[in-house]
């Protein structure tokens, strides 16, 4: 038996188990569990013994029986030690034990004798910790956003930890914030504006970018290298240095508070990146196909329309989704250019709501859910394309 590696294995796995339990306790406290202190020593002993038992049993008995048995026994012990009420809490604890045992199923005394086993075990646990850490850190704010939109300001001020949802409420009562946000705060209008602006930006950007990218990728003309370098440089200029001159110019031209003004700015700021992304893809299309089409008597317009576009649909989809995301999420220009509620985009509307300290937070969060949900759904559905767009274009952002 390798004492050193066994000891390290025991310590790390105990810590890991403790982390899992802590996360579960925090989440349960948010659902109304009354547990203010965790007896650290007892939990450490519990963790140590379950890890030790697991490797001692090894694979001498059936894995499922071992895991189920150990989880049940230790859940019971946990219950005896802590003795707090709700049953679902222990169900979670049981699941954690079960998951944990499943994670360490490969470890037995023989395994711990292998070379580099300390590093291997540490790496494995770092991965496990990483999964827990990143999931918690990323999903927690989204969870708070979603749940807050179903609560009321008064109840949250009284007990900021009570995130339990009352599912017995009627449908209308349960989604009250959303009804209010749509009715009193006119969010349907803002959704429409945001959609028009985003889709409009995508279409106009593509209309301008596809021909330009084709020319940069394929045709020979004076100033080509200069142009392709300047695309990259222009693309690095941030919105904040454009905002004051654009504000003054747009004020004098009467383009502020208009959707067309916003469309112009969004298109111009996304054009360089769109051209940059598209020309890279166009270059990868074999030139012979075009030459054949040229001989067949197609002109360049026909080549773009009949060959380039159909062949590069995935790249165009990537660019379109990426541009859509930028336009949908954009905030700075909509803050500067829009001060009439009639032309607000969703982002600007939420900012406007928050400007009034009287706005209850559930309405603010309902608005936030409304602006976040579409873009996340689009992302999940088209993940492949959007990730493609992100990697080729999102040096910016």
């Amino acid at each position: 038996m390798n004492y050193k590696s066994t000891l390290i294995y025991l310590i790390i796995s105990t810590l890991y188990l403790l982390t899992l339990k802590l996360v579960w306790i925090i989440l349960s406290v948010l659902q109304g569990l009354e547990m203010t202190s965790i007896t650290l020593e007892k939990n450490l002993i519990l963790g140590l013994s379950i890890s030790l038992l697991s490797i001692l049993f090894g694979n001498k008995i059936n894995l499922l029986i071992k895991n189920l048995g150990l989880s049940l026994v230790f859940t019971y012990i946990f219950y005896v030690i802590n003795n707090v009420t709700p049953l679902w809490f222990y169900f979670g604890i049981f699941l954690i034990y079960f998951l944990f045992l499943n994670n360490i199923r490969n470890y037995d005394l023989k395994y711990l004798n292998q070379p580099h086993v300390i590093e291997k075990v540490t790496f494995k646990y770092i991965t496990l910790f990483g999964i827990v850490f990143f999931s918690l850190v990323i999903l927690f704010p989204f969870y708070i956003m979603l749940v807050t939109s179903f609560k009321t300001q008064a109840s949250l001020l009284m007990n900021p930890l009570d995130f339990s949802l009352d599912f017995t409420k009627s449908f209308k009562e349960f989604f009250k914030s959303y009804f209010v946000v749509f009715k009193t705060y006119n969010f349907s209008r803002y959704i429409l504006t945001s959609t028009i602006v985003s889709i409009g930006t995508v279409i106009i950007t593509l209309l301008f970018a596809i021909p330009a990218a084709y020319a940069v990728a394929r045709l020979n003309f004076f100033g080509k290298t200069f142009l392709s370098t300047s695309i990259l440089i222009i693309y690095m200029f941030p919105a904040i240095v454009l905002v004051i001159p654009l504000y003054t110019i747009f004020s004098q031209l009467g383009l502020r508070n208009s959707i067309s003004g916003l469309l112009i700015v969004y298109t111009a700021t996304t054009l360089p990146v769109a051209i940059y992304m598209l020309q890279g893809y166009f270059k990868s299309i074999p030139k012979e196909i075009e030459d054949a089409a040229l001989i067949d008597g197609h002109n360049w317009f026909g080549i773009i329309l009949k060959i380039i576009i159909p062949l590069s649909l995935p790249a165009i989809a990537s660019v379109a989704l990426y541009v859509f995301m930028i336009a949908w999420n954009e905030f700075l220009f909509s803050l500067m250019f829009l001060d009439n509620p009639k032309t607000f985009t969703l982002s600007r509307a939420i900012n406007y709501l928050s400007g009034d300290a009287e706005t209850p937070r559930q309405f603010l969060m309902a608005g936030s859910v409304i602006v976040t949900l579409p873009i996340l759904l689009i992302f999940i559905y088209f993940e492949k394309y959007l990730v493609g767009g992100l990697t080729s274009g999102s040096i910016k952002g």
């Binding site: 925090i26 003309f221 004051i244 004098q252 360049w300 996340l376």
Partner: protein, 419 residues
């Protein structure tokens, strides 16, 4: 023939590119030059409106004499600050109308009333009144009288187009604006934000590069903070960190880690003791940096993961044969393979974070020691309404940016295209 073809090719190329160039030029390049221009002028937000002469035409009946009507032109200078010179008014009236009295500045010829007023001072107002009657004694049709609007013209200086320049804005930026503090805060924010995002990005990429169940799910959610709209995420964080009713503070107090709630976004310094030394931490700035890391590590993650997955598997297999452990593998195989991408990422993200505005603006508005240069542009330009000052600050940003870009292109510009 070949010559002709290449000529056509050139012409096509220009035709294809021109629309894009024109748009980018007018919305991105032209404003940058306009910025230089404005930064040397003393312009305030209220000066932006071009002064123009205005007139409102009102028709009044005269009760004693139904055949006559009174026309009142309510004249004013729209600007409270600027004079307008050479103001002229023109108004076309229906046929057969004569004036009872006429102002000496005006004359009436071939149905057109034309007046020239000379200069209108700022805030100028006047009611110009005429009495008119119909030559053939009929009643005057009020509607046709009202239907035409008077035309006004005048010359006014557009403050943006005058040529008085001054260095005052830049003097103020460098000497009266806590410039050192501003620059330092911006650099803290940028440096630690970028570094943190890359460290967490590498960790996350290393994580997702392992085999475990739920790996694709993990990869999706790791990108959420970047994909979500900044407004929604920033407000969620503000609620989460709120000192009075925020979840985080409530949790920390409930588990007796803190006695007092801390205002993570509203407190400038946090003093604490470490090894007997009193240390001061820029608390609000640190929180904002953490938000920045949270929101942008997905990008570093994405790039590093793509690189990691391109590392040939046989490298690892060979090292397995040699009996190398995971730590050894990471330092000797993985790390050398990703240093290039990390340095490129660092430069690019550094440039972008340097210009970050929304995140800080939404979280703290630049208060409690989080005022960076981009925030200052907004404050000067729109909160204090001094457009010229705002422009000057943004010029400073542009200059620093140009230095960064030169560095970037010198160091890794060519390799960036290989990405």
């Amino acid at each position: 023939m070949a010559d002709k073809l290449s000529k056509i090719e050139k012409r096509t190329a220009y035709a294809l590119i021109l629309p894009a160039i024109l748009l980018v030029f007018s919305i991105i390049l032209f404003p940058i030059f306009a910025n230089i221009w404005i930064s040397f002028k003393e312009v305030e937000l209220k000066d932006i409106r071009i002064p123009e002469p205005r007139a409102k035409k009102i028709i009044k009946s005269i009760p004693e004499d139904q055949t006559k009507l009174k026309i009142v032109y309510k004249l004013r200078n729209s600007s409270l600050l600027e004079n307008i010179t050479d103001v002229k008014l023109k108004d076309k009236l229906p046929a057969n109308i004569e004036f009872v009295n006429i102002d000496p500045r005006c004359n009436f010829k071939s149905r057109t009333l034309s007046c020239s007023f000379g200069e209108w001072k700022a805030k100028y107002r006047e009611n110009l009144e005429f009495i008119i009657y119909n030559v053939n004694g009929n009643l005057i049709d009020k509607k046709s009288l009202k239907s035409k609007k008077p035309k006004l013209s005048g010359k006014a200086d557009n403050i943006l187009l005058t040529t008085n320049f001054t260095l005052n804005n830049f003097k103020k930026v460098f000497f009266k604006n806590d410039f050192k503090d501003l620059l330092l805060t911006t650099f803290y924010f940028t440096f630690f934000g970028t570094l943190g995002a890359i460290i967490f990005g590498v960790l996350a990429a290393q994580l997702v590069n392992q085999k475990f169940s739920g790996r694709t799910f993990m990869r999706s959610i790791l990108l959420f903070p970047y994909v979500g709209p900044v407004v929604a995420l920033a407000y969620t964080w503000t609620l989460l960190l709120d000192p009075n009713s925020g979840t985080l503070n409530a949790l920390l107090i409930k588990f007796q880690i803190l006695d007092q709630p801390i205002n993570l976004l509203g407190q400038k310094y946090l003093t604490f003791q470490f090894l007997g030394i009193d240390l001061k931490l820029r608390l609000a700035l640190t929180t904002v940096i953490f938000f920045e890391i949270w929101r942008y590590f997905p990008l570093a993650f994405l790039f590093v993961l793509a690189r990691l997955q391109a590392i040939p598997k046989d490298l690892y297999e060979a090292s397995d044969v040699d009996g190398a452990g995971p730590l050894n593998k990471f330092f000797n195989i993985t790390l050398p393979q990703i240093t290039a991408i990390i340095s490129i990422l660092f430069m690019i993200r550094f440039i972008w974070n340097f210009n970050k505005f929304e995140d800080i603006f939404l979280l703290t508005g630049g208060a409690s020691g989080t005022r960076t240069l981009p925030i200052n542009v907004y404050e000067q330009g729109f909160a204090i309404s001094n457009i010229g000052m705002g422009s000057a600050v943004s010029m400073v940003i542009v200059l620093i940016l140009i230095i960064f870009m030169i560095l970037y292109f010198k160091l890794i510009g060519k390799r960036a295209n290989e990405l």
